[in-house]
């Protein structure tokens, strides 16, 4: 009964989506705002990568809201997991990584760090930016955690340091916005001139905003993964019975 209702629901959803897709022009978007931005962004922002120009220049407040959503998600994850950690007394010892894993992690860590920072600071020139580079930075630190999990699986990553980096980066983003508000009355408006388009130090404050976004995203995601990696799976429930998987993915 429930399955039939679900199938009807999804069939209706597919029909609606198909109707919408049939009414869209194939490959001919209306793009009124997009066309304007494409024609004005080179002169107004001075960034080669127009996606970054929109992300940090035209829609900077949107990015700030997105960062706060990510912050809320990371905080809620920490809240849920830390409250559970108290009632779980016995920690199973995490097995140490092997020699190859440790050496590989040591070799990979500086490489990932360089790639992450390269992508962050070149965000206004080439594809990439704060989000992608930040995720790579988080991955670089998490590789170390995986190679040397340590006693509680956290690999010696200090949550305080992560929180400090994250707070400083977020405060830096907002401070750049407030500076712009103080200077010319618009929040988060790109400043400091445009420079020569295509050079590393161009597009005004966009590289600084990109750095702030990258550090914040990297610190948040590294903290999130460390929290998930801590306290390996123990038998939480005394009478936990592994039930047979009985999903009926079909009909």
């Amino acid at each position: 009964m429930r399955n039939i209702a679900s199938l009807l629901f999804t069939a209706g959803l597919a029909f609606l989506l198909l109707v919408i897709a049939a009414q869209l022009g194939f490959g001919e978007p209306p793009m009124r705002i997009g066309g304007d931005i494409l024609s004005q962004a080179p002169a107004e922002v001075g960034a080669t990568n127009i996606v970054t120009a929109v992300l940090l220049g035209y829609r900077g407040i949107d990015t700030l809201g997105e960062l706060s959503i990510l912050f809320a998600a990371a905080t809620a994850t920490g809240l849920v997991l830390v409250r559970g950690r108290k009632d779980c007394e016995h920690h199973a010892e995490e097995p140490p990584g092997g020699f190859i894993l440790r050496t590989g992690a040591d070799l990979l860590f500086p490489l990932l760090l360089v790639v992450g920072f390269y992508i962050i600071v070149h965000g206004h020139l080439t594809p990439g930016g704060g989000f992608q580079g930040g995720v790579i930075l988080a991955a670089a630190f998490f590789v170390l955690v995986l190679a040397r999990p340590g006693k509680d699986g956290s690999g010696g990553m200090s949550h305080t340091a992560i929180a400090v980096v994250e707070g400083l980066a977020g405060a830096g983003f907002i401070a750049l916005g407030l500076w712009s508000l103080w200077d010319n009355g618009d929040f988060l408006k790109p400043m400091l001139g445009h420079g020569v388009m295509g050079e590393l130090l161009s597009a005004g404050t966009l590289p600084l905003l990109s750095l702030a976004v990258g550090l914040k995203v990297g610190a948040e995601l590294a903290g999130l993964m460390t929290q998930l990696a801590e306290q390996p799976a123990t038998a939480q429930h005394p009478h936990q019975h592994p039930h047979p998987h009985s999903e009926d993915g079909g009909s």
């Binding site: 991955a139 998490f142 019975h241 592994p242 047979p244 993915g249």
Partner: protein, 98 residues
Amino acid sequence: MDLQTLFALLAVLLVLVSALLMLVLDNMIGAVAASGVVSLGVAVLFVLLHAPDVAMTEAVVGAGLSGVVLALGLRRLGLWRLDAGATRQSAAGDEPDA
């Protein structure tokens, strides 16, 4: 049919097949891997759609980070095992069975 359309067709087929696999696989590790393959195929489609930034994000986040988060969740849930219906009481993350 030119090369671009051929690539798009291949990537869409890969994505849809692995999405269906995600639904029917009994093994949760396999399901997580299938969702990673979906993200990778979608990243290829983003490249074909001239969206390099989005493709980079999807490849880094969807195929990398999201897989790590889900795998860590599996390990802590005790579902990190290759045989689906096995009755194992102890923590499954301690053994290198992957």
